[in-house]
C-alpha cells in the first residue's frame, strides 16, 4: 500500500511544516503530512488554498541533483574555482623548497617572503594561462613579425586545450546523461576503453577510402561502448544489480582485457617491442581542424572536438525535445509516475546506459583516432574518471559539461607548461581539478566560506544530513 512508503518532504516549506527525517532518530510520521492534506476536506476548519501534495520518495541521486541545481549554482562554481586556486597556491608555496625556506624569515623580512611567494604562484598560474589559452609573448612576436613566429605557434595553446577537452566532453556527457535518469555511471572508463578497442581495431584492420575510414571506426567505437554500457543497463533493469558496483567492476574487466588484447597476434605491432597495437591507417585518423599544414607545426586539435560539440548538442536536444529524453527524465525524477504513465522503466534505464556507453566509447575513439593512433595499455588515460568530475562540474547539463570539459582540458594543457618552472609539478593540476570538483560538490562549504545567501535547497541538505 502506498502509505507504507513514507513520503519524504525535504523542503520543509512553510506549507508543509517541519520536515520528517528519513528514518533517523527523530522521525516525523508521514501521516503527519498526510493528515494536513486530508484535513482539507469539505468540513475542514479553514479552507486551505494550498494543499501540499504528497511527495514521492526521494533518492539520494535526486537530492544530489537538487543540490547541484540550487540557487547560486554559477556563482558557486566560480567561487569553487577561486578557492581551489587559493588552496593550490598554498600547496605551491609549501612544495617549493626555496620559497618554503624563505618563510622561516617571515618576521625578519616579510616583504621579501611574500614577494617570493607571489612570484612563484603568479608565474605558475601565468604559465598555466600561457599554456592553455594564449602566450602574449608569442602573440606579440607574431604581430611584429619577430623570429618568424607563425600563427600556428600562437594557436598552439588553444589547440592543446581543445585536444585534451574533446574526450573529456564525451565522457562527461556519458556520466551526465545517466544522471538525469537517476543512474550513476562510474563505468565511463571501461566504456571508453571498449570504444577505443572497437575503433582502433576497425581502424587498422580495414582500409577504406577517404573519410569512410574514420567514419566506420568511429561508429564501431560507439557501438562497442554502447554494448558495454548496455550490459550494465540490462542487468540493472532485469535484476536490479546496482549500476555503481557493476560499472566499477566492468572498468577492471575492460582494462585487463585491453592489456591482453594488445599482445595478441594480429593486434600487436610486430615492429614494436613494447605492448602496443598496430597503428590505425592514416585515413582513419581524425582530420585536424587547423588543416594539414598546421599539423606539422604541432597543432593537434582534431575532429574530436567538433564531434564532442555535436554530441553535446545531441544530448541537449534529446533532453529537451526527444521523446526518449522525456521518458529518461521522467524515470529519473519519479519511477512510479513513469510506470503509471505507461513508460517502461527498465527499457529506459537500459537504453540510457547504452547511450552513455556510446558517448564514452566515442571518447575512447577520440583518444586513438585523434592523437594516439595505436592502442596501448593506458591509451585512454583517466578520461572515464575525469569525465565524472567534468559532469559534476558541468552540473550534469550538456552545455555545462562542454564548459567544464574545456576548463579541464585547459588545465591539463596549461599544467604541462606550468611544470616548466622548477618546483611545480603537474600533479598539482590534478590536485586543483579535484579541489574544484570537491568545492562544487560541497556547495554548502563554499556558501559558508563566502557567506552567500542561503538557498531554499539548503534546507534539503540539512534534511539529508539528518536522515
Amino acid at each position: 500500500m502506498s502509505d507504507e512508503n513514507p513520503p519524504i518532504e525535504p523542503g520543509g516549506t512553510p506549507e508543509t511544516g517541519p520536515e520528517p527525517g528519513k528514518g533517523g532518530m527523530l522521525p516525523v510520521h508521514p501521516d503527519a503530512l498526510r493528515a494536513d492534506r486530508e484535513a482539507a476536506g469539505p468540513d475542514a476548519v479553514r479552507q486551505p488554498a494550498d494543499t501540499p501534495a504528497p511527495q514521492p520518495k526521494r533518492t539520494l541521486g535526486q537530492a544530489f541533483l537538487d543540490e547541484l541545481w540550487a540557487d547560486n549554482a554559477f556563482t558557486v562554481t566560480l567561487l569553487a574555482i577561486v578557492l581551489a586556486a587559493i588552496v593550490g597556491a598554498v600547496l605551491m608555496v609549501l612544495g617549493d623548497e626555496p620559497t618554503r625556506q624563505q618563510w622561516a624569515y617571515f618576521f625578519y623580512q616579510p616583504g621579501k617572503t611574500l614577494s617570493a611567494s607571489w612570484d612563484l604562484v603568479s608565474s605558475a598560474y601565468g604559465n598555466m594561462f600561457k599554456g592553455s589559452i594564449i602566450d602574449p609573448d608569442s602573440f606579440n612576436r607574431w604581430i611584429w613579425g619577430v623570429d618568424n613566429v607563425t600563427w600556428q605557434r600562437v594557436m598552439y595553446p588553444i589547440s592543446e586545450t581543445l585536444t585534451f577537452a574533446a574526450p573529456l566532453i564525451f565522457t562527461g556527457l556519458a556520466s551526465a546523461l545517466p544522471f538525469r535518469a537517476g543512474l550513476f555511471n562510474i563505468g565511463g572508463q571501461g566504456q571508453a576503453i571498449m570504444g577505443a578497442i572497437g575503433g582502433a581495431t576497425v581502424g587498422f584492420a580495414f582500409s577504406a577510402p577517404g573519410a569512410t575510414a574514420w567514419i566506420l571506426s568511429t561508429l564501431a567505437g560507439a557501438l562497442f561502448g554502447a554494448l558495454y554500457g548496455l550490459i550494465v543497463g540490462v542487468l540493472k533493469a532485469r535484476t536490479g544489480a546496482h549500476e555503481v558496483i557493476v560499472t566499477i567492476m566492468m572498468n577492471y574487466i575492460a582494462l585487463l582485457f585491453l592489456g591482453w588484447y594488445i599482445l595478441q597476434k594480429g593486434i600487436h605491432d610486430p615492429n614494436r617491442p613494447d605492448a602496443i597495437s598496430k597503428p590505425v591507417h592514416p585515413q582513419a585518423m581524425f582530420p585536424k581542424i587547423f588543416g594539414p599544414t598546421a599539423t606539422d607545426a604541432g597543432l593537434r586539435a582534431n575532429l574530436g572536438i567538433v564531434l564532442a560539440l555535436l554530441a553535446a548538442w545531441g544530448v541537449s536536444w534529446l533532453l529537451r525535445r526527444g521523446t526518449f529524453g522525456f521518458e529518461l527524465r521522467a524515470v529519473g525524477y519519479n519511477q512510479d509516475a513513469a510506470r503509471t504513465a505507461g513508460m517502461s522503466v527498465g527499457l529506459t534505464l537500459a537504453l540510457t546506459m547504452g547511450l552513455a556507453g556510446a558517448l564514452a566509447g566515442l571518447g575512447g575513439v577520440t583518444m586513438v583516432h585523434g592523437d594516439a593512433r595505436a592502442l596501448s595499455a593506458d591509451v585512454v588515460g583517466q578520461i572515464g574518471f575525469n569525465g565524472i568530475l567534468v559532469a559534476l562540474l558541468g552540473r550534469v547539463k550538456p552545455w555545462g559539461v562542454v564548459w567544464a570539459g574545456l576548463l579541464f582540458g585547459a588545465m591539463t594543457a596549461g599544467g604541462l607548461r606550468m611544470q616548466a618552472d622548477p618546483g611545480i609539478s603537474t600533479e598539482l593540476v590534478t590536485v586543483i581539478q579535484a579541489l574544484i570538483v570537491m568545492f562544487v560538490a560541497a556547495p554548502m562549504l563554499v556558501k559558508a566560506i563566502f557567506r552567500l545567501r542561503k538557498s531554499p535547497s539548503s534546507a534539503a541538505h540539512v534534511g539529508l544530513a539528518q536522515g
Binding site: M25, D36, T51, A53, R321, T323, Y333, N334, A337
Partner: protein
C-alpha cells in the same frame, strides 16, 4: 534524543527492573491543536487515557491520529493545548522528554538497525556501560532484554539478528525496547498494518498482557475488529477532530459511520444512468499486496458503459490492489480482466492506457505526477509520444504548450504558466492536472481512485462534475473512494469491499446504516457479534445466533 535518554538513565541507575519506578500513569491531552501552514491537522483534540487502559484511537488514514501521537511523543510541537501526566502539565520537547515522562512509542515503520542483534538494538540510544573506559556491557544489556521479555511475556531471542526475524517479532523487539526505557504508557502507531492475521492476534494478546501488568496503551488503528477485540475505550478522530468517544461494545456500524463521516452530503446533479454494454469485466480476480499476502481474494465485477460503479470500503481492504491490477501495475495471481472484447489480463500499462482507459491514481504525488516536470509536461505524461504532442522520436513542444494552455483554461488549473513545475501548485490544482490529462482523451473506461483526496471543496465539486460528464458521454467509470459520501453521490451502483472481497453490490439509495455495516464486514444474512445491541441488529435485518464471527466473507456476492 540520544543525549536525553542518557541523561534520563544516568538519573535512574537502578532502573530496568522495568515497570517498578512509577505507578500507572494517567494521561490527559487538552485542546491539542496542530497546524501545518494553513491546514489544521489536529483541531482542539482532547482525550484522556486512564491508568491501565487500552485506549484506541480510531480514524481513517490521514485523519490526524499520527500527528496527535507525534505531538504527544515530542516529535511535533502543538500550537495550542497542553499535555498532562497525572494531572500535572508537562512540556514535551522531544522523545527524550516523553520517555522521561513515562511515554514510549512503537512506530509503524520500525526504528531498528537490521544488522544489529536484538540486544544491540534494545541498547541503542541507552547503552549499558561498564568500567571507566565506557565499554559496552553486552551481558547486562542481554540480561535486561531477557528479563523484560519474560516479565511481559514477549518471547524474543536476544542474540538474533533483527533482519532475520519475521515482522511480528521485530515489532515485539520494538515493544521490548520501549519497555526497557521503563515507560508506563505505550503508543502503538498502526501496529497491525504490517502484520499477518496470526501475528495480529498475537499482538492483541501481548497488549492484553501489558494491560494486566499495569501499562496504559494508546492503540492507533483504522481496523474495527481489532479495536473491538482489545480496546477499553475508543476515541474516533476524523479530519483532525474528535468526533466521538465510544465504548468497545458500540456497534461496528456506528464506529464505521463515525470514522467515515456523514456530515456533508455533496449531492451531484446527475441524470439517471443509461448503462450500455460492459466495458470492464473482472472475473475471480486474485491479487497479492506488496508483502505477498492476498489483498484481493476473488473479485468479480462489471462496469458498464455510461455508469459509475463505486467501490466503497474502509481503506486497506484491497481497493488499491484491485485498481493497480486493472491498470496493469500489479501482477495478477488468478482471474481475468476484460476490456470491451479484449482480454487485458496480461497487458502492460501503456497498452491498457492506449486502449482508452483513463487513470486517476490514488496517490497523485507518487504515481500521478512528476513534481519537477512542468504543468505542460505533466499534461502529456502518458500521451507525449502521440500526435499532436510528438512522435516516437521528438516532442512537439509548441503543440504541447498550446494544448496545455487550452486544458489549463478548460479545467481552470491555477498556475502562473504552463511551464511552472507542477510541484509548486496546490493539491487541488495538481489533481486537476491529472483529471485534465486523463479526461481530455477519448475514453472507454475511467478508473478513478480517491479522485478528491486532499482537495479543496471547489475542486471536489469540479472533479465530480467532470466524472459525471465523462459517464454521460458513454464511458464506464470505476470509482474507488474511502469517502462514503463521494461514492454515494457519484455512483450508480455501489460495490462494498471488505477484506479483499466484494460483500455486496447495492444501490446508492441504500440506507447508510446498511452500507456502514457492510463496510464493517457485516452482511444482512450474517449474525452480529454478541456485544452488539439489538436495535442495530434490526437495522441489519437479522437477529439470530449472536455468538458467531462477524466476518461475512463467505457470503460475498
Amino acid at each position: 534524543m540520544t543525549a536525553r535518554v542518557h541523561k534520563n538513565l544516568a538519573h535512574a541507575p537502578a532502573m530496568r527492573s522495568a515497570g517498578t519506578r512509577r505507578s500507572p500513569l494517567r494521561l490527559e491531552l487538552r485542546g491539542i491543536t496542530k497546524r501545518f501552514g494553513d491546514l489544521v491537522a489536529n483541531d482542539q483534540i482532547s482525550l484522556t487515557v486512564e491508568p491501565g487502559e487500552i485506549h484506541a484511537l480510531l480514524g481513517e488514514n490521514g485523519a490526524g491520529k499520527s500527528t496527535l501521537m507525534n505531538v504527544l511523543y515530542g516529535l511535533l510541537q502543538p500550537d495550542e493545548g497542553e499535555i498532562l501526566v497525572d494531572g500535572r502539565p508537562i512540556k514535551i520537547k522531544g522523545p527524550g522528554d516523553a520517555i522521561a515522562a513515562g511515554i514510549g512509542m512503537v512506530h509503524q515503520h520500525f526504528m531498528l538497525v537490521p544488522v544489529f542483534t536484538v540486544t544491540d538494538n534494545v541498547m541503542l540510544g541507552a547503552e549499558q556501560i561498564r568500567g571507566p573506559g565506557g565499554f559496552l556491557d553486552h551481558a547486562k544489556a542481554r540480561k535486561l532484554v531477557v528479563d523484560v521479555s519474560h516479565q511481559y511475556g514477549l518471547p524474543v531471542d536476544p542474540d538474533a539478528v533483527v533482519e532475520d526475524l519475521p515482522i511480528g517479532v521485530q515489532q515485539r523487539v520494538e515493544i521490548v525496547k520501549a519497555l526497557t526505557r521503563d515507560v508506563d504508557l505505550l503508543i502503538l502507531d498502526e501496529p497491525t498494518a504490517v502484520l499477518t492475521p496470526q501475528e495480529t492476534d498475537e499482538l492483541l494478546d501481548v497488549m492484553r498482557g501489558l494491560k494486566a501488568a499495569g501499562k496504559s496503551i494508546v492503540f492507533i488503528t483504522h481496523k474495527l475488529r481489532e479495536v473491538k477485540a482489545v480496546a477499553d475505550r475508543i476515541t474516533v478522530i476524523r479530519r483532525g477532530r474528535t468526533v466521538g468517544t465510544a465504548a468497545p461494545d458500540a456497534p461496528e456500524s456506528e464506529l464505521a459511520d463515525l470514522m467515515v463521516g456523514r456530515s456533508v452530503l455533496l449531492r451531484v446533479e446527475k441524470d439517471e444512468a443509461v448503462p450500455g454494454r460492459p466495458v470492464l469485466s473482472i472475473a475471480d480476480l486474485v491479487v497479492a499486496d506488496d508483502r505477498g499476502l492476498q489483498a484481493v481474494g476473488g473479485i468479480s465485477l462489471e462496469v458498464r458503459a455510461g455508469e459509475v460503479l463505486g467501490v466503497a470500503g474502509v481503506q486497506g481492504n484491497g481497493q488499491t490492489e484491485l485498481v493497480e491490477a486493472v491498470m496493469g501495475l500489479r501482477p495478477i495471481a488468478a482471474g481475468s480482466i476484460k476490456l470491451l472484447d479484449d482480454d487485458v489480463t496480461a497487458w502492460g500499462t501503456r497498452k491498457i492506457l492506449d486502449a482508452g482507459v483513463g487513470y486517476i491514481p490514488e496517490d497523485r504525488g507518487v504515481d500521478g505526477l512528476v513534481r519537477e516536470f512542468s504543468v505542460a509536461e505533466n499534461l502529456v505524461l502518458d500521451t507525449y509520444a502521440k500526435s499532436p504532442n510528438g512522435t516516437r522520436f521528438a516532442l512537439n513542444r509548441s503543440k504541447i504548450e498550446s494544448g496545455a494552455a487550452e486544458k489549463i483554461s478548460e479545467y481552470d488549473i491555477r498556475t502562473r504558466s504552463p511551464l511552472h513545475a507542477v510541484g509548486t501548485l496546490s493539491g487541488g490544482n495538481q489533481q486537476k492536472v491529472i483529471v485534465a490529462r486523463e479526461l481530455s482523451r477519448k475514453l472507454q473506461l475511467l478508473v478513478a481512485a480517491q479522485p478528491t483526496r486532499g482537495v479543496d471543496v471547489g475542486s471536489i465539486e469540479f472533479i465530480h462534475k467532470r466524472i459525471v460528464a465523462e459517464r454521460d458521454t458513454g464511458s464506464g467509470v470505476l470509482l474507488v473512494s474511502s469517502e462514503l459520501d463521494e461514492v454515494l453521490s457519484l455512483a450508480d451502483r455501489v460495490a462494498v469491499m471488505y477484506r479483499g472481497r466484494v460483500l455486496a453490490i447495492v444501490s446508492p439509495d441504500t440506507p447508510r446504516d446498511e452500507i456502514g455495516l457492510l463496510m464493517a464486514g457485516i452482511t444482512g444474512k450474517q449474525p452480529l457479534p454478541a456485544d452488539t445491541p439489538g436495535e442495530v441488529r434490526e437495522a441489519a435485518g437479522d437477529t439470530e445466533t449472536p455468538d458467531a464471527e462477524a466476518d461475512g466473507e463467505e457470503t460475498a456476492s
